[in-house]
Amino acid sequence: MAATTETAPATVTAVPQIAARSVQPASRGWTSWLTTTDHKRIGIMYMVTTFVFFLMGGTEALMMRLQLGAPDNTLISPQTYNALFTIHGTTMVFLFVVPMMAGFGNYLVPLMIGARDMAFPKLNALSYWLLLAGGIVFYSSLFFSAPEAGWTMYTPLSSVSYSPNNGVDAWIFLVHLTGLSSLLGAVNFYATIANMRAPGMGWGRLPLFVWTILVYSILLILALPVVAGAVTLLLTDRHFGTHFYDPSQGGSPLLWQHLFWFFGHPEVYIMVLPGFGIISEVLPVFSRKPIFGYKAVAASTVVIAFLGMLVWAHHMFATPSPSVVFIFFMLGSFLIAVPTGVKIFNWIATLWRGTVEYTTALLFCVGFIATFVMGGITGIFLAVFPVDWQLTDTYFVVAHLHYVLMGGAVLGIFAGIYYWFPKITGRLLSEGMGRVSFGLMFVGFHVTFLVQHSAGLSGMPRRVYRYPDVGHLHLYNLVSTIGAFILALGILITVINVVRSVHGGPVAGPDPWRANTLEWFTSSPPPVNNFDVIPRVRSVEPMKDIRRQVARQTGRVASSPQASEESLVRT
């Protein structure tokens, strides 16, 4: 165990014991982080960077909630407020959820498929540095003039006549830089998954998280060039005298909406599918059961992605468009509910007749399912276009999208943090703090966003810096603001947990959860070359086979679930 020669007491004796031999000590010092091409280090840099952006985006959200806590509030000026929601949305989409999933993918995909690195390690490093550059370019606009046209940048508002300052340009460069980063990363993931799987790992034995990263990559490759083209047209409109989106010169503002949402809706699945993948990995481990219907869960990922490419105009039901368009996009959106429902039913069936262990990671998974179901159901309301006419662009939509992205992607990310932290650092997070964090986040989330449905239904549009004191708007918004701070406290506790545990947590050992996939075959944290020996994969759950084989050869009992359960729960 070259990588973990700490003196802290090992609390878990895992079976099998894997030793990574003849590994050179990893170089230390900050310059080694600048030059690294190790997928694990790049993955860590991705995760840390994007989490910092998450905290920045969250702070912006809290500032907005403070402003909306009282009617006709004058705390924040309309200019600042518009900048806040623009930066918040952009940060969470482009600088947090999408690259955070790339971070998980970077760290885990090679380990899960039994590879020693990504297919193109240097390209992988470039992906990270482009992401960081995009974030810096975008946030620098704060010191000059921040963009104010919303993360959707609808034209003509984002044209140079109505947004003369350079914030929109900073946003365009962010989309280009992070887009290039994601595109290179996506190609890398695809090449890695297609070519570098362990012997015996056919497509039918690919871990479900890797399936979702594969589909995530394909969606990025299909969707990103479109938005790159769209923002380039916006850039030339703004500075080089073209009129693609200018109605007074024969251009079309609707063209922007179509191009943007042709990327923007697949983007929703780009954000949430890897979250589905995390759930599909964690649930079977803590139910001590195989995933129910592996093929259906993998296939539904592909079907969701395919249908997700065909529903973009359901964001445009209020625009002047022909009825046949609305009907097509309504029915397409309905169809997505079927594979999504299949996933949810399969997850519940995975828990069914298992022995469910309430680890923090499992709690976040369950919180994810409970919340995502609601986001999915409100999505059906929004898909019915006559009903959408009442709901679109209100706080109902704000609530819906946060149920899907915050309740979906973010709770999935937190499940992933609690589940894989021991592998990444070699230390366990505190389960007690984890539970408190989950409880606060779950309650805080629903207090914040459930009531926003009602605010929207009673006529409050989104993106307003103030609202009049009519009806119950004040009550709804006050409840929502209080919830936001509970949610923030929950997130803060996980941050403290991570900071405390990264050096001080109990040593995890290679396989603290008795998990199913190959990343648990190596030591925690894994050595630079990941595996000395790459095992032959015989099923979807290679670690179960390995444990069984070790038990047969050494006579140690490892396959009985009771024995392991006790070893799992720590002090």
């Binding site: 518009n82 109505y162 609707l254 519940i348």
Partner: protein
Amino acid sequence: MRRKPLLLTLIAAAIVALLALAGPASADLLSPESGGSPNADRIDSLYWVIFAIALVVFIGVESALLYSLIKFRARRNAVPAQIRGNTRLEVGWTVGAALILVALAVVTFAKLGGIRTPDNSGADGLKLANGVLVASSPTRRLPPNGKSLNVCVNGQQYIWRYTYQSDCSRNDFKAPFAYYEMVVPVETTVTLDITGQDVAHSWWIPKLGGKFDAIPGYVNHTWFKIPADQAGHVFHGQCAELCGRNHADMAAAVRALTPSQFEAWLAQQKRDIAAADAAAQQQRKEFEGTGKGSATGGGR
């Protein structure tokens, strides 16, 4: 495990919170605004059908989740069943989910006509004898009898302008207009031609139906018909598409009057506009006569 009481407490707390909110709040807690126009009412009733189906699905899924969490939590000597799937069951719930959506689609299509196609004006509505106010364009949906009061809605940063005119593509400088508050007769089908002047806006009076984006270069259409008992009532709304810094302050209102009051208001509005035009013309003449300004100096 001590998880069960905590979960139950959470659920109880959620229900109590919901009830506490349900007390003061009324219809706006759970459904869109309605009551000002038949299309808004029909959207509301379609919403409730979806709500009923959604509630059943929601309760079903969440209770299955909760049940499996409580019932199958890890106990000493419990052995997890190593089930890998069940094709029949999986096909069953796939088809089941699809059938629910087919039902939703059928209900939506059944209600669609009444929401999109304007009703005929009521017998007590404005007598649409004046040809100027009868919409006749074949490009938009009209009531079955082809008669409606047409208003051209124009969104501008940060105010709404309404022109009472049957053909909005024509610049009729004589047509009466108003800002912020649209005045309409009750029991009369009002069709709207909606466009934006500068950036994209969105027309929305919640009680009178859904949102319709006002996008420069495009014309959007909707309609409403305010019932007779709402005469004298003012319906409030605001721009629903981000249109700049003062987006939140871009309010709109629709005042409902009886047809005779409306005719009187329209006549007064025409007189006021004519008088203001005449006064402006007079002022310009005087201004130019004094020689203080050039011919272009009077513009701004």
